[in-house]
């Protein structure tokens, strides 16, 4: 099993632990990731707020590179915004030949063109539908027994394109957590917005959203909130004292592949738990290297 890997900008800087843990967890599952050479930014959620054509040409460039350098491989993107931007190019060009023509014309300055067919996949999609839950469970050496995990999906991997899960009541991450031996929680805000980049541009609007999510996870009895998006992760882990000042201790927030790493017997440092900004005291006490 092999994918063209698009890490995206966040995973190269503030979310390095998401990149490293994704690579390590997938390697353990026998999945090969070939990083798209010379990839560039997908435009995040900013490009479409400035230029529609750029919002398609920026992700389009990466799909064109993948098609040329790694032909035939599905493109795997762990970040929600990257995934949606890349997927949008796949979807829009499927039904709008004019969109494809415009993207190709823009890309022609770099002697690039979109490949004939593109298939963009999210990490959860690959885990559940390609790797499969039994293969994940098989690699578990230290099951996350008794760990109450609140899966947090965010928005853009579910909407507007519901490719691999229910856009209102998603369950793929709960299935993976279960395969790791954890106890996934059914809680009400698992697919509700964290405010995304409003945390940078309109902080007073985003803080209450983060506060609601943290309180709902606590009320459900969560030991950890599991994420699959660098912006969700940052918003939920870095603003806890501002968004939920009455919260007793940090509520642990971790990337799903970091939890996979722990269940696969990896040392917390191997999946870079040192980078996490909200880890409750004692959370890692049962982890292999510290046991």
């Amino acid at each position: 099993m092999k994918y063209a890997y698009y890490p995206g900008c966040s995973l190269s800087e503030t979310a390095k632990e998401f990149d490293v843990s994704t690579r390590k967890a997938l390697a353990r599952l026998g999945v090969e990731l070939a990083e798209i050479p010379d990839w560039t930014c997908c435009g995040a959620s900013a490009a479409e707020a400035v230029s529609e054509l750029l919002s398609l040409a920026l992700p389009g460039r990466n799909l064109a590179l993948a098609g040329r350098e790694l032909p035939g491989l599905d493109v795997l993107a762990p970040c929600s915004a990257c995934y949606l931007n890349l997927l949008r190019v796949e979807k829009k060009t499927e039904r709008d030949p004019d969109a494809r023509r415009r993207i190709d014309e823009a890309l022609s300055v770099q002697n690039l063109a979109l490949p004939g067919t593109m298939r963009v996949r999210h990490l959860l999609d690959a885990l559940v539908n390609d790797v499969g839950l039994p293969a994940i469970a098989e690699k578990v050496v230290s099951p996350l027994e008794g760990l109450k995990a609140a899966p947090y999906y965010g928005c853009q991997i579910l909407r507007p394109y519901a490719e691999f899960d229910d856009p209102e009541r998603p369950r793929t991450m709960a299935l993976v957590l279960e395969a790791l031996g954890a106890e996934p929680l059914d809680w009400r805000l698992s697919a509700t917005c964290c405010g995304a980049s409003l945390m940078a541009s309109k902080k007073e609007a985003a803080l209450p959203l983060v506060g609601n999510i943290l309180r709902a996870a606590r009320d459900a009895g969560a030991d950890v909130v599991a994420t699959v998006c660098p912006l969700c992760q940052m918003n939920l882990e870095a603003y806890q004292s501002e968004a939920d000042p009455k919260g007793p201790v940090p509520l642990t927030v971790a990337y799903l592949p970091q939890l996979m790493g722990l269940a696969f017997g990896m040392d917390p440092e191997e999946v870079m738990f040192g980078k996490n900004m909200a880890v409750a005291p004692g959370f890692l006490a049962g982890a292999p290297a510290l046991a």
Partner: protein, 187 residues
């Protein structure tokens, strides 16, 4: 004449853009599912339902006096639930684009974050978050704004999550940005 970032959207382009948005929401039946689904509604001065009514009525200035569309965080809850199946999140993005074009021409900082972000992409090829936020603070010309992020900045620094820009892809996208600008300036 070609438009550019410095010399952007003439008025006819603004009305053309609003016409496109009107068409996107023309079938709106004012049910309010969008408002009820919006996580950011409590921070908005105008409910999304009312914003779409203004768009249908072509009340451009009322729309741009509001900050509702700038509070859209692209969660697509309204798009998912709209009983008419209207592309509401895309319409919000189109309003952001119109506002960005107006501000580029006449000044204003409501869309500054998006413009600074994209300029960072143009310069570096890959977003350099540290450099981007520094420039955003400078662009906003609000001396108090950085203070709201200073504690976080130190924590990120301690965690080794931020640092000087990596320049391997620097300038890689300049040609693409130029080409897109040229294409968008066509009548």
């Amino acid at each position: 004449m070609a438009t550019s970032v410095k010399n952007p959207a003439p008025q006819d382009e603004a009305s053309r853009n609003l016409k496109a948005i009107r068409e996107m929401v023309a079938a709106c039946m004012q049910c309010g599912t969008c408002t009820a689904s919006c996580p950011n509604y409590p921070s908005m001065d105008l409910a999304p339902r009312r914003l779409w009514r203004l768009a249908v009525m072509g009340l451009t200035e009322d729309i741009f006096a509001s900050r509702t569309f700038l509070l859209c965080s692209n969660c697509y809850a309204c798009t998912l639930r709209c009983p008419r199946g209207l592309p509401l999140t895309e319409a919000m993005a189109a309003l952001k684009r119109m506002a960005a074009a107006r501000e580029t021409k006449w000044g204003g900082r409501k869309t500054q974050f998006y413009r600074t972000f994209l300029d960072n992409v143009r310069r570096w090829g890959r977003v350099q978050e540290t450099d981007m936020m520094m420039r955003y603070f400078l662009d906003m010309k609000d001396p108090l704004l950085p203070l709201r992020y200073t504690p976080l900045g130190f924590r990120l620094l301690r965690k080794g999550k931020i640092g000087p820009p990596h320049s391997a892809q620097s300038g890689r996208l300049a040609g693409l940005f130029e080409k897109v600008k040229e294409m968008e300036a066509r009548p």
